[in-house]
Symmetry: C2
Subunit: 226 residues, 2 copies
Amino acid sequence: IIVAERLVKTYGTGAAAVHALDHATLSIAAGRFTAVMGPSGSGKSTMMHVMAGLDSVDSGTVRLGGVELTELSERERTVLRRRKVGFVFQSFNLVPSLTAAENIELPLRLAGKRADSAWVDELVTTLGIQERLSHRPNELSGGQQQRVAVARALASRPEVVFADEPTGALDSRAGRALLAFLQRASREFGQTIVMVTHDPVAAGFADRVEFLADGQVVDGFDHPTA
Amino acid sequence: IIVAERLVKTYGTGAAAVHALDHATLSIAAGRFTAVMGPSGSGKSTMMHVMAGLDSVDSGTVRLGGVELTELSERERTVLRRRKVGFVFQSFNLVPSLTAAENIELPLRLAGKRADSAWVDELVTTLGIQERLSHRPNELSGGQQQRVAVARALASRPEVVFADEPTGALDSRAGRALLAFLQRASREFGQTIVMVTHDPVAAGFADRVEFLADGQVVDGFDHPTA
Ligand SMILES: Nc1ncnc2c1ncn2[C@@H]1O[C@H](COP(=O)(O)OP(=O)(O)OP(=O)(O)O)[C@@H](O)[C@H]1O
Ligand SMILES: Nc1ncnc2c1ncn2[C@@H]1O[C@H](COP(=O)(O)OP(=O)(O)OP(=O)(O)O)[C@@H](O)[C@H]1O
Ligand SMILES: [Mg+2]
Ligand SMILES: [Mg+2]
């Protein structure tokens, strides 16, 4: 479903240049749950943003569901993303003026889709945030905000969900509940998931792990167990 | 150095009231490294904010270095905090328009202190951010921003450092380097540290662990090992 080849993204020029991606190549199979690991600053978030159509590259190609993203305009990428992609940002990026419930419904409204209220109810209950839907992000703890961000990405059942360290702010019990839910969404509903994580236990829930270092995909293997 | 007794903090009223702190009592000894653990939403961040003089309470008392915080005005609490406290926020809270180096020096400038450049150099090198000091927060990865936030809290060698999940965005290698550094600061320089964490490995670096649940301190023990 996603094929990224020889992606290059560099910030700055000359001696101070930072090579966020340095000819990174990665394929994600449809319906699979793939974890992406690597040291801080190795290019994981950059890779996710590029594969989700949120960021451009200097060179290389990215095909999402057969569509070449690098040939689309910013506007075309946004339309495609709204229809096909759910994203859990590393910094949550919730809209401060909206309640938790409104944040969760926002991608649906932007894509012109109706919410499947039975699915959203199941999401909210599994994530343990059903009593806080009327609160705004600044009235929620770090972990509660993260769970709202996850519900938002999954609510519209997009073709691909990208999650950038979705359990970073959660205790191990809440983290495992979330990971088990992602695994179920992948195994039972065929949801394609790409998850960045630093936690080997989280990677153990995935079907495959890819390793990034210095902007390159250096390793990968199937069926990781913690 | 910190004595908090029967702290109560409630948001909202009636049926929708949320009891962030529910008669929580906690003492932190000077020069010790204390970890605070507990489920998401149990009141850890709220407790830290109150003990650091960043937030008020409905009832209860908090003494920081012998000074009763609940009797001070907002302004007096700010002056005391600038002189005695360093804080690593769960959401980093870096100033977007300043470079990493300027963010690190900000608390020193606000407190009217001069930087000890040998100490700041050691901090920046240990945390692995020496090559990124001229970049602004939005040019850094999540883990790099977190390390800048930690350097900022430690730069002025405050009496007490509060760190709210300081390794949440770091890979295990960078996380361990940071934790070993905090442990050294405590053991060799007598730095008092209070660290919220979900990670049992991180708690293993502390001298003592306290457990929060539903706004109360329910347990605690010395010399945790992972
Ligand atoms: N402004 C607010 N209005 C309403 N409730 C709030 C507000 N701020 C915090 N809370 C609630 O107080 C409780 C404690 O929050 P706190 O941020 O201290 O939790 P935490 O233990 O740090 O959780 P996490 O591990 O998720 O960061 C939570 O249920 C949170 O939703
Ligand atoms: N706007 C920018 N200007 C300069 N450098 C940047 C910019 N954005 C990202 N970078 C750099 O690109 C590299 C890759 O960043 P990225 O955010 O992808 O890392 P990451 O693997 O997600 O790290 P973490 O685990 O800390 O979140 C980092 O060195 C980062 O500092
Ligand atoms: Mg990242
Ligand atoms: Mg918190």
